[in-house]
């Protein structure tokens, strides 16, 4: 049986060859360790360093690159599949009915309620819709999502497996930016920056769009939270050792 120092040496060697992905590293370290152990068992006079060199030679350096490349492809494919699966699982029948209900309410607002009242309602929903993304996006201007950061053993570079999951953090940022753009457009139309100060129709159309988009952003935010929670659960179930900080 190899010592922990010897196992770490094998781990460092794998990292040097670009094997950062947690589960690939686990199996390559185990494979090289087993080969080394076997060689040492067959020839008890063989030292660890010599046995490890032989184990590496039997593996071939090109194999590392090949394995890592293939694994990255498999992760990306699997990550996309999981993201779609968890996103679609959010839209259960009650939520679909609520969405349809919301669209009908929007229509009713535009069609029947006096403009002044609907304007207040639209602005309230818009203002409130900004709060959850701001609260959850404390790291908006950073690339790393601290929600994950706190659970991943970055020190030991065991985060690679989770990297594809961080993509949807960027997607949320895009949604947030789109919302901001719609708001700016509204402000431009409402205050006459676009040169249509007294065009009531344009202002009303912009308010309606804004109201609709604000509500949808709530639904989008709900879907995002749901997807994030499910993906974290998936990552914890499949790669428990990468979440050692949480387990402790």
């Amino acid at each position: 049986m190899l010592t922990t120092e010897q196992i770490n040496e094998i781990g460092d060697f794998c990292e040097k060859w670009g094997v950062n992905c947690y589960d690939v590293k686990v199996e390559l370290v185990d494979h090289l360790s087993s080969t080394t152990e076997n060689l040492m068992a067959e020839d008890p006079a063989l030292l660890f360093d010599e046995a490890f060199i032989q184990a590496r030679q039997s593996f071939g350096d090109m194999s590392f690159e090949q394995i890592v490349k293939q694994k990255e492809k498999a992760i990306a494919r699997n990550g996309r599949k999981q993201q779609l699966k968890y996103l679609s699982s959010f839209f259960t029948l009650p939520k679909i009915l609520l969405t349809i209900g919301y669209v009908l309410v929007c229509y009713a607002m535009i069609r029947f309620i006096p403009k002044d009242i609907s304007k207040i309602v639209a602005m309230s929903i818009l203002t409130l819709s900004f709060i959850p993304p701001i609260l959850s996006q404390a790291t908006f201007f950073h690339r790393v999502d601290y929600f994950f950061y706190s659970y991943i053993d970055y020190k030991n570079k065991r985060c690679s497996q989770i990297r594809p999951l961080l993509l949807f953090s960027k997607k949320n940022n895009i949604a947030w930016l789109s919302q901001l753009c719609v708001t700016l457009l509204y402000v431009m139309l409402a205050t006459g920056w676009a040169g249509i100060n007294n065009d009531t129709h344009n202002i009303w159309v912009s308010e309606s769009i804004l109201f609709f988009v604000s509500g949808l952003s709530w639904i989008g935010f709900g879907a995002y939270r749901h997807q994030k929670k499910k993906l974290l659960g998936y990552a914890v179930d499949n790669y428990p050792a990468a979440f050692e900080i949480k387990q402790l």
Partner: protein
Amino acid sequence: MNKSNLYKGCLEPLVLKLLNDNGRMYGYEMTQKVKELTVGELTITEGALYPLLHRLEADGILTTEVESIGNRPRKYYKLTEKGEKQKSHALEELQNFMRTMQLLLHPQTI
């Protein structure tokens, strides 16, 4: 012709059969088992085995579990329900291929 080229297409059914017979296995164990069963005739290279295992895992044919053995973790592979079906299909295809080869090489024996 290089012997490994002949075996290349057989790797997937072979891995699926091994996992079906042994329940769960880890990468190194698979290479050793094949070496043992074929008396050293066939050696699976790591560069071919692991990409295949990762692809099958991503396709939902295999599932994995990591277990700690002494001072290091070890990753085990096993067949999923989908993998069971895939195994039967892959073995059937391999047998068809072998029959066709027999037909081409020894027409009188078939």
